[in-house]
């Protein structure tokens, strides 16, 4: 079965500390993986996707097919990074995208 697992519901770090939001997926085919972010009072938006291999707002994510993981990392967290983060799996057949349960990141001053 296709599944996305985000093991942490809440992650709290201090400003300037490194942050890693974990994401594991289950999919037998070739995955398309995304990170979406929802800031307070804003709509859900794409943060980054694995095929673009780019850094957005200091965040990076590497697809590890061996470990079936797509963890989101940032070396120095900022207060404005506080938000809800969702890992998502595309290419699941039937043209749909599946989301994880989400991790709320709280960056303390």
């Amino acid at each position: 079965a296709q599944r996305v697992t985000q093991p942490e519901k809440l992650l709290s770090v201090f400003k300037g500390a490194p942050v890693e939001l974990k994401c594991n997926y289950s999919y037998s085919g070739s995955p398309e993986l995304f990170w979406y972010v929802q800031y307070s009072r804003q709509r859900l938006q794409l943060l980054l996707r694995h095929i673009s291999r780019e850094s957005i707002k200091g965040f990076t994510a590497d697809l590890n097919k061996g470990e079936t993981s797509f963890h989101l990392k940032k070396p120095f967290a900022q207060e404005e990074d506080s938000a809800m983060y969702y890992c998502a799996l595309g290419n699941t057949g039937g043209f749909k995208t599946i989301f994880g349960a989400g991790t709320r990141l709280f960056v303390k001053a």
Binding site: F34, Y36, R43, G90, G93, G94, K96, I98, F99, G102
Partner: protein
């Protein structure tokens, strides 16, 4: 540039009442989706559409119906609302289906008493 617009943004229903949520997109996207967002469960796909006149079931379709009569609109209906349908509903659209970026609406908060 409106993008994806959902109406209404808030609604309170009594058990057994019916209602329709409207999603409109102005980006000429083929693919449209309805998700519900619940605490601890993330976003779960209710129904989706791969083009005008088509619909398909997602993960949690029971109790909902949808229609895509026009390419730009995707309607989500609740025929007989239940308290378990209290949630925040998000519409999304995409130009390339599962490989592309999803563009989301602002969400519709529905409470069923």
């Amino acid at each position: 540039n409106a993008g994806v617009t959902q109406t209404p943004k808030f609604r309170v229903l009594k058990t057994g009442q019916s209602m329709t949520l409207l999603c409109a997109q102005d980006m000429n996207h083929e693919y449209m989706y309805w998700y519900r967002q619940d605490p601890g469960m993330g976003l779960r796909l209710i129904h989706y559409s791969v083009g005008e006149g088509t619909t398909a079931k997602g993960e949690v379709p029971d109790g909902y119906n949808v229609s895509r009569l026009k390419k730009q609109n995707f309607l989500l209906g609740l025929e007989s609302a239940a308290p378990s349908q209290t949630s925040v509903y998000f519409c999304a659209s995409s130009s390339t289906g599962y490989t592309g970026e999803l563009f989301f609406g602002e969400g519709s908060r529905l409470t069923v008493l």
